[in-house]
Each structure stands twice: as structure tokens, then as C-alpha cells.
């Protein structure tokens, strides 16, 4: 199976990319990861214990077509929802971890994602373990309306409780991190990391271009741009991610 790099156009063999943590060998383009891959690349082997695997929400607004959309996403990803949460270790340091999967309705946050994240934050608080979240999301889940919007407040409240208890929270923004997820738990990390080239912002670039009727400058809303504007602590290459996290965990662990 051959894959074309969306950045440099190079044709890559899928096994070669997989060996390279799904980074293009030629131009360093970071391919999007599934939650499964992210956990595998991040945690010590065999250390992961999942929380709330089967936690789901209903269709609170009876939104037309939503149940079919959910069923299709479940079928395609093998996940019940857009986030996987649990605990594990990184270089021996225990963490509570959450990983969003952008294949699942663009990693959007509805009641189940908000609830799983809030529970993860509360588990981190109860055990005084650092919380680590890998974000990949287009924002709120439209089909859940204001229920979805309120998850922004719910997750922000759970993280504020964690913060007041002085338990560290590290967020890692990956491609893409936008909308109501960026504007809630995405941007609340004590330390905020990002992967190279990740799209990060409140409004997506296409909507901005339509609104202001002009082309956006090259690199706008990319991780490097946010670093320059003071919105992030570090842009970290996927190959260095684990060692950077270990270094952070050693300093921040409560």
C-alpha cells in the first residue's frame, strides 16, 4: 500500500511511514494518528488501562441523521466515541491520558466526549496524577446543539478544579485543533505543546477567508505561527514527544 504525502507529494510505502511514527521521511509532514496509534507511540508498552470505554450519549436533540452518523463513525473507527481516556505510564511516570481521534466525526465534542474528559480530569485529581490530553478536533458537535456547547464549560470547570488542586495538566495540540475544543480544554494546559504544522485556531481558515474576503498569509494558524504569537510553549517533533513529556512529568509531577 502506497501513500502520497499531502505536503511534498512523495509516494511513501505505508510500512516505512509506520516505522517512522507516521512522519514523512522526506519533508517531516506529520500524518494524523488514530487514538490507538497515539497511545502506542506515547505510553510504555502494556501500561494502558482504559476508562469508560462504553460511555455514550443519546441523541439529545433528536437531530435528524445523527444516529446514522454515529453508527457510521463507530463502524469506521471501532471506537464508541471521539475520545479514548485511561491511565498509563510514560518512561515509568504514571499519567491519566485522553486522546481524541479526528476520524470520529472530526473529533468533535458532544456530551460523551465532555463527560469522559471531565471524568479523566476528576480521576487525575483523585489520584493526584498529571493529566495529559492529545487534542485533535474540529470543535463542538453541531448535532448536539447547546448540550455540546455546554461541554466546553463542563471540561473547563473540571480542569479549573484540577488547577486549583495544583495537579499538572499538559495539552498537546495536533492537527487539527479548532473551535470549541481549542477554546476550552485545548488551550488550558499548564504546558501547551503542539506538533509541527498542526492547524490550531478558533475559527477554521476557510470561514475566516469567507468572512474577511482575503487570502490568509502562508503558515497562518499553524503551530509555528502560534508559538511565535506566544500561544504555545513548544512545537515538538513526534520523534521527540516522549522524551519531552518525560522531562515535563519529572518536573511537574505533584
Amino acid at each position: 500500500m502506497w501513500v502520497k504525502c499531502p505536503q511534498c507529494g512523495e509516494i511513501l510505502y505505508h510500512k516505512d511511514i509506520a516505522k517512522n511514527l507516521k512522519v514523512c521521511q522526506k519533508c517531516n509532514y506529520h500524518f494524523r494518528l488514530t487514538a490507538q496509534e497515539r497511545l502506542q507511540f506515547t505510553l510504555d508498552e502494556g501500561s494502558f488501562k482504559e476508562f469508560d470505554r462504553d460511555l455514550v450519549a443519546n441523541n439529545p436533540l433528536a437531530f435528524p441523521g445523527y444516529e446514522e452518523k454515529l453508527a457510521a463513525a463507530r463502524e469506521a473507527t471501532g471506537l464508541m466515541e471521539a475520545i479514548v481516556t485511561g491511565e498509563g505510564t510514560i518512561g515509568g511516570y504514571p499519567v491519566v491520558i485522553g486522546v481524541l481521534d479526528s476520524r470520529f466525526i472530526m473529533g468533535s465534542m458532544g456530551a460523551a466526549v465532555g463527560e469522559k474528559l471531565a471524568r479523566a480530569a476528576e480521576a487525575a485529581l483523585a489520584q493526584r496524577l498529571p493529566l495529559l490530553v492529545f487534542v485533535a478536533s474540529g470543535g463542538a458537535r453541531m448535532q448536539e446543539g447547546v448540550v455540546s456547547l455546554m461541554q466546553m464549560a463542563k471540561t473547563a470547570a473540571a480542569l479549573e478544579a484540577l488547577s486549583q488542586a495544583r495537579v499538572p495538566y499538559i495539552s498537546v495540540l495536533t492537527d487539527p485543533t479548532t473551535g470549541g475544543v481549542a477554546a476550552s480544554f485545548g488551550m488550558l494546559g499548564d504546558v501547551i505543546l503542539a506538533e509541527p504544522g498542526a492547524l490550531i485556531g478558533f475559527t477554521g481558515p476557510r470561514v475566516i477567508e469567507q468572512t474577511i474576503r482575503q487570502k490568509l498569509p502562508e503558515g497562518f494558524q499553524r503551530a509555528e505561527f502560534l508559538l511565535e504569537r506566544g500561544m504555545l510553549d513548544m512545537v515538538v517533533h513526534r520523534k521527540q514527544m516522549r522524551s519531552v513529556l518525560v522531562r515535563l512529568l519529572r518536573w511537574y509531577k505533584s
Binding site: 460511555l55 455546554m150 466546553m152 464549560a153 470547570a157 476550552s184 504569537r229
Partner: protein
């Protein structure tokens, strides 16, 4: 110049006819009081017919009505000695958000909210009520000050959403919103939120985390505009009417879903036809909730607020249909 919505048209025509007939009878010295009284009665009936059977899309239009009272209108109608405070102390002063100190029903309060303009010129200046990060940061500064001096906070929500533009992104729109949500969720003074017009997505929510969420009868609150929703779902913004129904964005729907605490009535015909009447309804509701919250110690207030947000959105484990308590 007043603006009328399509569905208000028959009522407006009737009102015009009454005015015409009244001035005609005065001019000519004719007694048309019987006819006029009949027309007035018909107008009242028509008002009732129109305004008690509004569709979600009509509510969207009403919530955006250019003559609808704004945050500053309500502050002036409800409060004494409002003194506007300005600036975020970081970058600038955003005219899309207003706030300051005031007195409400004999108590010192902090009031703030999104501010739309009355006409094109003012709307240009106020960016149609769409804040930049500076607006959210000004609001947070005022709320932290309210906490410092032990004053309750009243916020008014009326925005199409947070502004989407280059400067807003560069200066951290998502950071500003996220920080407001986090800090408001544990602010140690009561927060009463009143949605008076459009509650547009994250930009509305950034001023709308509180102990009580009230909505005026014809206000809306939504995760996305109906136009935006229709263009994403059906690639057709003109199907906004359908989207408005699917999104459950009316005050009545949101109360039924348990997402807000109270629907505050508006005078028949909507707040824009009788702003004093609308303000009186708000005064009663805000005061009642404020009195309930005032005696609660800060720790308990924060605990209750946390529990309130923690409950939003029932979830359950697949296979068992009962709701899990958070």
C-alpha cells in the same frame, strides 16, 4: 427608522391604519372612536396570534431584530449609577463588550455584556457585537474585580459569536474564551446570566457561565448559526429555517432540555415594542435569583455551580439505558 419583519407586517399595517384614522378623526373633528377601538382590539388579537405561535426561525429573526433592546439599554433601564469601565490592560478596549459598576435594586453589582450597535455606523464601531480577545479579557478583568470586592455579576448575552478575523486569531481568541470559562466556573461571587438576544456559540458562552441562566422569551442560544449549520449539513445556507428547528435553539426548547433555568416573559409583541415592559420582567427575575444566591457562602456557591455544569448532557454505558449520575 423602524424595521419590520415579514411576519410582523399585517400587525404593522393595522397599527398604521389606526394611527391614520386617529389623526384623521382629530383633523376633521369626527368621532371614530368605535371604529378605532375595534381596530385596536383586532390588533391585540393579531399580536397574540403572531407572537404566541412563533416558529424557531421567526424567533431567530426576532432575537436579531435591529430595534431589540441591547445590553446598554437594559443596564440603563435596570440599574442606577452605571459607570462604564474600559480596557483589558493588555492590548485594547473592545467596544463589542461593555461593562462596569452599577447599582441594582439597592445593591452594588458588576454588569457587563455583548454590545451590538443601533445603526450601521455604531455597528461598524462595535463590530456587530462580535468580540475580539480583548473583549473577553476585559470581561474577565471586571469579573475578577467583582470577586475581589464581593459584588455579584450580571451578564447580558447578545452576540452572533466571537469575531473570526486575523487579529482575533493572532491575539488568542481560543485562549481568551477558554480562560473565561475556567475562571467563571469558580468565581466566588454569584453570576446571573441573561440571554437577551442572540447567544451565538463560544463567543456567547465566554460570558455565560453562571449560577443561573435566564433567557428572554424570544432570545436564542445556539452552538452554530442556523445559516452555518445548514451550509455544513446540506451545503445550502438557505435551508436555515430547517436548521433552526433541528438545533433546538429557542428559550422554550432549552428550558425543556434542562439547559437553562428560566424563560423570562416579554411583553406581547416582543421586547422591541415595549422595552420598559421587558425590563420590568427582567428586573423581577434577576432580583429573585440574586436573593436566592446572596446568602450562599462562596465555597458552597462554587460547589453548586460545578455540579450544575457537571450534570449537563446525560451519558450512559452502552447496554444500560439508565443515566449515570456525574
Amino acid at each position: 427608522m423602524p424595521t419590520y419583519l415579514d411576519f410582523e407586517r399585517p400587525l404593522v399595517e393595522l397599527e398604521e391604519k389606526i394611527a391614520e384614522l386617529t389623526s384623521f378623526s382629530q383633523e376633521k373633528g369626527l368621532d371614530l372612536s368605535e371604529e378605532i377601538a375595534k381596530l385596536r382590539q383586532r390588533a391585540e388579537e393579531l399580536k397574540r396570534e403572531i407572537f404566541t405561535h412563533l416558529t424557531p426561525w421567526q424567533k431567530v429573526q426576532l432575537a436579531r431584530h435591529p430595534d431589540r433592546p441591547t445590553t446598554l439599554d437594559y443596564i440603563r433601564l435596570l440599574c442606577e449609577e452605571f459607570t462604564e469601565l474600559h480596557g483589558d490592560r493588555l492590548y485594547g478596549d473592545d467596544p463589542a463588550v461593555v461593562g462596569g459598576i452599577a447599582w441594582f435594586a439597592g445593591r452594588p453589582v458588576m454588569v457587563l455584556g455583548h454590545q451590538k450597535g443601533k445603526d450601521t455606523r455604531e455597528n461598524m464601531r462595535r463590530n456587530f457585537g462580535m468580540p475580539h480577545p480583548e473583549g473577553f479579557r476585559k470581561a474577565l478583568r471586571l469579573m475578577l474585580q467583582a470577586e475581589k470586592f464581593g459584588r455579584p455579576v450580571i451578564t447580558f448575552i447578545d452576540t452572533p459569536g466571537a469575531y473570526c478575523g486575523i487579529g482575533a486569531e493572532e491575539r488568542g481568541q481560543s485562549v481568551a474564551i477558554a480562560q473565561n470559562l475556567a475562571r467563571m466556573s469558580f468565581l466566588r461571587v454569584p453570576i446571573i446570566v441573561v440571554v437577551i438576544g442572540e447567544g451565538g456559540s463560544g463567543g456567547a458562552l465566554a460570558l455565560a457561565v453562571g449560577d443561573r441562566i435566564l433567557m428572554q422569551e424570544h432570545a436564542i442560544f445556539s452552538v452554530i448559526s442556523p445559516e452555518g449549520c445548514a451550509s455544513i449539513l446540506w451545503k445550502d445556507a438557505s435551508r436555515a429555517k430547517e436548521a433552526a428547528e433541528a438545533l433546538k435553539l429557542t428559550a422554550q426548547d432549552l428550558l425543556a432540555l434542562g439547559l437553562i433555568d428560566e424563560v423570562v416573559p416579554e411583553p406581547l409583541g416582543g421586547a422591541h415594542r415595549n422595552r420598559e415592559g421587558a425590563a420590568e420582567y427582567l428586573r423581577g427575575a434577576i432580583l429573585r435569583h440574586l436573593e436566592e444566591l446572596e446568602g450562599i457562602p462562596p465555597d458552597e456557591l462554587c460547589r453548586q455551580r460545578y455540579a450544575k455544569y457537571r450534570r449537563v448532557g446525560p451519558t450512559f454505558y452502552r447496554g444500560e439505558r439508565e443515566e449515570c449520575d456525574a
